[in-house]
């Protein structure tokens, strides 16, 4: 009985996956990624030098755009959006450790610059 239900559910799961990414959707994601990269180029090559945008404004903009690209690659190309929520959490929650390291080392590097000057 239980093995039967397993098979049924496994099959349903496969069916969900098949509906995940159609060719049209793949190309949509491609154009989103290309578009974001073009925006980054426009900022770097034209907007920032022409209007003298300061780096503390431009750099966060790059990082936000990069995170958007990362979301599209992980969610659609790597298919995480269509997986079970448990798997998605198992992958995404540990990323908090990386954020922790970023906070710690940025703080530390501000201390290092004081030591050097």
């Amino acid at each position: 009985m239980s093995s039967e239900t397993t098979n049924v559910h496994a099959h349903e799961g496969e069916h969900d996956e098949h509906e995940g990414m159609t060719k049209r959707r793949i190309w949509n994601v491609f154009f989103v990624l290309l578009g974001i990269t073009c925006v980054e180029f426009i900022i770097a090559l034209w907007l920032a030098p022409t209007f003298h945008w300061p780096s503390h404004f431009v750099n966060p903009a790059y990082i936000v755009l990069t995170l958007f690209k990362a979301f599209y690659i992980v969610a659609y190309f790597m298919h995480l959006k269509f997986e079970k929520i448990g798997l998605a959490l198992a992958i995404i929650v540990p990323i908090l450790f990386i954020i922790g390291l970023i906070l710690v080392l940025t703080n530390e590097s501000h201390y290092w610059i004081d030591l050097r000057l």
Binding site: M1, S2, T5, T6, H9, A10, G13, E17, H18, M21, T22, K23, I26, W27, F30, L33, L34, T37, E40, F41, A44, L45, S55, N59, Y62, I63, L65, T66, K69, A70, I73, V74, Y76, F77, M78, H79, E83, K84, G86, L87, A90, I91, P94, I95, F97, I98, L101, I102, L105, T106, E108, S109, H110, W112, I113, R116, L117
Partner: protein
């Protein structure tokens, strides 16, 4: 009353975590690929975060728009971001062909899987070729692990008025970090190309057709997209910021 209680106890629980089935509903190898990629993400993060920390703590840093302003073999200077833009486009494009191979695998279309996989391999090789040209160009200027250009060349990479001693120190850090991080990423691309070739051969000899599913293509696809994902970050932090 006791019978209803017994019925409740005997009832088979069907929630995802009550046993008897895979709660994540993915095949073992695919889940392990995800966990490997998570650990690889940690490795790349530590490299990039160390780069960030060293760069934050440096009073000066070589300007990316001055260091990366050539298109090796075509334009010597004055074209910032053009060459790396091409590299980024090639890698995103090869990610698209990879996901198209996975899509063809769902339809069990062997011929389409093979063609998209070959496209992905070509994209990977083109990216590696571009990276080799980029490295050769920087090497010809004098950058290498532990090596920096002579003072005259080095001054071209900094905004005017930066003291020479500061230039030397941050140039050393820049050279070591650049070659280590892009080298580690390039090594991932290289292994990805090798794995893609193995999988393509398996598709050609009909291994997955016999097995009835192209799940291996999905697994190697996850790795390939991860390589693209890392490049997105390397691109931002080395070439834009």
């Amino acid at each position: 009353m006791s019978t209803t209680a017994a019925q409740q106890i005997d009832e088979i629980k069907t929630t995802p975590w009550s046993g008897g089935r895979s709660p994540f509903n993915v095949e073992y190898g695919k889940m392990m690929m995800w966990f490997f990629l998570l650990s690889d993400a940690f490795t790349f993060s530590t490299l990039l975060i160390s780069y960030g920390a060293l760069r934050f703590s440096a009073p000066v840093w070589p300007a990316p728009s001055l260091v990366f302003q050539s298109f090796p073999g075509l334009i010597e200077s004055g074209a910032p971001l053009v060459f790396v833009g091409l590299m980024t486009f090639i890698l995103i494009m090869s990610s698209v062909t990879m996901v198209l191979a996975v899509e063809a695998g769902h339809r069990n279309s062997k011929k389409e899987v093979v063609w998209w996989m070959i496209g992905t391999i070509i994209g990977g090789l083109m990216f590696l070729g571009c990276q080799a040209m980029e490295w050769t160009h920087l090497h010809s200027e004098g950058f290498w692990w532990g090596h920096i250009p002579d003072t005259k060349t080095m001054q071209e990479f900094f905004k005017e008025g930066v003291p020479l001693t500061q230039q030397a120190m941050s140039s050393h850090q820049f050279a070591n970090l650049f070659f280590t991080i892009t080298g580690f990423h390039g090594f991932h691309v290289f292994s990805g190309v090798i794995i893609n070739i193995i999988i393509t051969v398996n598709v050609l000899i009909g291994t997955y057709q016999k097995r009835g599913s192209y799940l291996m293509v999905e697994k190697v696809g996850l790795y390939w997209h991860f390589v693209d994902l890392v490049w997105v970050f390397v691109f931002t932090f080395f070439y834009l910021v």
